[in-house]
Each structure stands twice: as C-alpha cells, then as structure tokens.
Amino acid sequence: MQLPPEKISELEEIAYQIRRLSVEMITYAKWGHVGGSFSMAELLSVLYFHLMIVHPNEPNWDRRDRLVLSKAHGSPGLYAVLALRGYYPIEKVYSYCELGGFEGHTDMLRTPGLETSGGPLGMGLSIAVGMAMGMRFKENPRGRVFCILGDGEVNEGNVWEAAMAASHYHLDNLIAILDYNKVMAKGFVWEEMNIEPIAEKWNAFGWDVIEVDGHDIQALAEAFHRARWIMPRGKPIVVIAHTVKGKGVEMAEFNYKWHTHAPSPETADAMLRELATRYGRPAQGYSKLGEPELKETFYGGE
C-alpha cells in the first residue's frame, strides 16, 4: 500500500506544523513537553490526516474513530494536530495553560476533538478498552479506538490490567500505539526502568504486535493500514513505533532535559529556524519573538 508522493508531502508538512505549533505554544505558555510532542508528530499526522475517520465539524459523531492520548503531557502535539485538522482556529492553541484556556494536560471539556481528560500516566488504555467495548455494544465493527502510550508509561501496572482485559474480550477494534522514544522524564528507559522485551510482553498478554519506524510516514501508513484492516483476528493490536524523543531539533533529540522544558523566546526562535532548514522550508522563527512578555514565571525550567 504505497502512498502517492503528494500525500507523503502533505503528511510531512502536517508533522512539521505539529512541531512548529508545539514550540510556539510551549514557549508562549512557558511550560510544556517538547520532547514527547515531537516524537509523535508523524504518528499524529498519519492518524488524523490519513487513517482516522472523524468529522471535525461534528466532533461527537457517534460512529467516529477515537483517539485516547494516554501520555497526556503530549497535549501540545495533539492540540496542534486538532487545530490543523480544523477542530478550532489555529490561534486557539495559544490559550494553552491559560486560565480558562486549553489545559496543560488534556481536559476534554475545554478542547473540541479531545476524547478524554488525562495527566496521570497509565490510565488511558483502560478508557480505550471501555470505548472499544462501547463500539461493540453499538454494533460498530468499522470503528477503531487508538491509544497512544508513552514508553515509560508502561511501567504503570494499570496498563497491563487493561492489556489483559483487552485480549480477554477479543477487542481487535483497539489499536494501542507505543511512542517508544527511549527517553523518560529523568533518564533513559533502560536506566530508569527497563521495559524490554516489550514486544514479547504484549505478545504474552495476547496482543498482535507490529514494530515500525515511527518517523517514516510511508511505513507508518502501511502499519496502521494493516492494524486497522488486515490484521484483526480477535486480538487487540499494538503498534510499537520506534521514535526519537525531541525529533526535529538537535538539542532536544534523545535528551531527557527536554521532557518538560520551555524554551526561551530566543531558543524557540533558533529551534524553529532549525526545523525550517531540516524540512527545506523558508526560514521562519518564533512568531512572538520580541513581543513584550505577558506571562509571569513562578519558577524557571521544569
């Protein structure tokens, strides 16, 4: 299943814009998670602009696909893709972390297109299991529930309770996606808490497993196509997407210091220029560089 070159360019552009907007909103808010938003940029691009069946004009359409962002600190990436997909005007993302605006971690009552609220890790897959059961109750065999998990997140026991239940109930309408960027909040996965052999773990819990390069748009499209249409056989499916935390800007790549860290306007400007160069786009820096800083800072850094 080969994507036409125009489609690949379109999805690449979306991934670029997800990264740009993530930096914009995190810098403006002075808080947020760059690394985990960057690592899933291609995942979100392919899901929302190629695979998922959703109606942004009718976000609560009953037969829609659903996405649960279990690693809810990746909210900037998700807010960006929802804006790009047309759930709300792009300008809205600058309300990120503002009182009354988009929440730091996901709040479904605040942001159109969000399916869940979250923050504490390990909880999203259970919600996705409930949604997949709900689709069964409603006799909707075409619908799918997607759930993006962080790699460190699978340290949480609740993930495996949900994994066990999903296979027990044969939920092959549930597709978990592991954003395996190898880096946790304070160190590397294998140092903090080793999750390997991760494919075998999912297998042992009764899941079908696909491994894929999470930044290769063609490979992702193919993996998701298989997960959605070819593989279902009474078992839930996990796509282990091998990614790079902070992918797109050198200083953030593979670097846990950019798990929770807001760049200064100057750093953001440099980051965005680097991104533009990498994507071969016209030079473009931070949109609010030099503007008076409106937001107070209680504490620097994380």
Binding site: S126, G130, G134, N158, E161
Partner: protein
C-alpha cells in the same frame, strides 16, 4: 429471582442493592454493570443474572474497573462499577478522580462493605475514609443510606442525575425508617424527629442509632431533634442551620472516620454559618480492626449511648456559652 415491586423493607442492604440494580436495568437500557470479582458478595450478581449481556467482569483489577467505566460513559453508557468501598477509595482513587470526576462522567459508584459492619475482615476491609476521600473530589456526589428504601431511592436519584455519584452500602440489615415509596433528593435532608435541646445529625446506618439515642435522651427529659442527611454532598445547609437555630447544639454520627467525613461536612456548615457547640461521633483516627459488629461499635464509642452522652456534653457547653 423475586420481583422487587418496590417492596424493599427490612431486607439486607445489599439485597436491596441487587434488587434495585435489576429494577434500574429494566428502566435504563444504557446501564451497564462492571465487577471486579466480588459480585456474589456485593449482590451485583442479581444484575448479572437478569442482564448477562450488560455485565462486564474485569477480574481483580480495580484501576481498570474504573478506567473501563470512564470509556463506557464516554460512549453514552451508564456504568455501575462495583467493588468494595476500600478498593474504590484507596486503590483506584486516581482513576476515579481524573478519568471520571475531572471530565464529569456519568458513572455511578457503589461502595460496598462500608464501615464497622464489615467487621471480621479487619482494617484492610473496614472502609472508614471513603466519605472524606470522595467528597473531596469536585463534581462527585456522595450519599449514605439509612435503610433499604433509602438506598433504593438514592440509586434512582443517582441515575436520574448526570455526573459521577458515590453511594455507600453497609453489609447489614437495617430496621425500616422510610416507607417503600420514599424519595431521595440531592442536597435535601429529612427531619425525622423534632426536638428543642439538641440536634442529632445522622447519615447512613447511624441515623437509626441517632433515633435510639433520642429515645434514651427522652427518658432523661431531654428533647433531641434527629435529622437524617443521606445526601452528604451536596449537603442540606439550610436544614442544618434551621435545626441548630432551634436547638443550639449538635452531634453528628457516621459509620466512618470523623476526619474529613460527614461530621466534618456538617461542622463546616456550622462554622461558616451558625457556630454552635458540636461533637462528632465516628471513628477517631484509628484503624477498625477485626471484631464482632456490636463489639466494634462499643469499642469505637459509636453506640446510641455514646451519641446520647455526647448530646449531654454539647447541651452543657451550649448552656455555658449562654451564661
């Protein structure tokens, strides 16, 4: 299985729970029951028998129990995730708080085996902090029924309101206070007995103890008012203030810890709106170890005699303040 026909008088609370589940299941096709391997204890098994297709077993996994419930609520269903109160309020608190209460989802949580009547299972199972924990969560409603009819009414009110609800079920048969057609209203208490010397505020099974205490006090010539507040959150601020405005002092009684629980809820209203001498009857910052039911109520100073003694204390305090 016996049809309930609204006749839930003087049966064990958990049987009333099971019967009412079946009744609600008939009325609400979107209602689904989830269980974490305890359905024959909680009597959720009655729902399982009536509607096997709407009964989901999740195994011994309480975090998953509440997460799945959130997902089902987000799909338009009305989940009743059922487990012991200790596991809901301890093991799965984060899931209840962030997956359910934060987005204000329509999940109804029965907490079974509350307080001292759980008895022999010991401190790990005798749930005392659930009122305090659950009423601290924004959007959550909390109720504790006095008898079977009250429980049935609370369950109807729980499903009629949109949003998360937590209600308690003691493993005990309580004498009937209310008629079968009793109605429960959120934020409304019930004046059960008028009096002018002291108000006894009860919730859950302790309301019956308050009525007994009022009898004891009456023999000594003391007139005690008894107010039942099954709706702990929201609480009937008006009725609380109205009553103490007449009596001038208060005793609260709950089958739970007084730290942050029902006694706290009532005395918060008193402190903010109408300060009077008050005393709280309940578990006083201790674990409820294994023991017989009566033995435990005596050990923790929660018998009607203890409520009556506390009433006399607050009456004394009130009179001192007046002098």
């Amino acid at each position: 299985m016996e049809e309930s026909n609204g006749n839930v008088k003087a049966i064990e609370m958990r049987d009333a729970f099971g019967q009412t589940l079946v009744e609600l299941g008939r009325q609400y096709p979107k209602m689904v029951m989830l269980d974490a391997d305890l359905h024959t204890s909680s009597k959720a098994t009655m729902f399982k028998k009536a509607y096997p297709d709407r009964f989901i077993q999740v195994g011994i996994a309480e975090q998953n129990l509440f997460g799945i419930s959130a997902g089902l609520a987000l799909s338009g269903f009305i989940p009743f995730p059922s487990t012991f109160a200790v596991f809901a309020s301890r093991r799965a608190l984060d899931q209840i708080a962030i997956s359910i209460c934060f987005p204000n989802l329509n999940v109804k949580i029965p907490g079974s085996y509350v307080g001292l009547p759980t008895s022999r299972a010991g401190a790990s199972h005798n749930c005392i902090e659930d009122i305090a924990v659950m009423r601290a969560l924004p959007n959550m409603r909390v109720a504790d029924p006095a008898d079977a009819a009250d429980l049935r009414a609370i369950m109807h009110a729980a499903i009629e309101v949109d949003g998360p609800v937590y209600f308690r079920i003691a493993r005990l048969t309580m004498p009937s206070i209310f008629e079968d057609d009793h109605k429960f209203e959120w934020g409304k208490g019930v004046l059960l007995r008028e009096g002018h010397d002291v108000t006894l505020f009860g919730t859950g099974i302790m309301t019956t103890f308050c009525l007994h205490a009022a009898d004891i006090l009456a023999e000594e010539g003391i007139s005690a008012e008894v107010v039942h507040l099954a709706s702990i959150k929201p609480i009937d601020r008006e009725l609380i203030v109205e009553s103490v405005a007449r009596t001038g002092c208060a005793v609260t009684a709950e089958n739970a810890t007084i730290n942050g629980g029902f006694g706290s809820a009532v005395t918060e209203v008193l402190a903010e709106e109408y300060p009077v001498p008050a005393h709280r009857i309940g578990v006083r910052d201790r674990w409820v170890d294994s023991g017989g039911i009566k033995e435990l109520f005596t050990h923790h100073g929660m018998q009607p005699e203890d409520i009556a003694a506390a009433a006399k204390q607050v009456i004394l305090a009130k009179n001192k303040v007046r002098i």
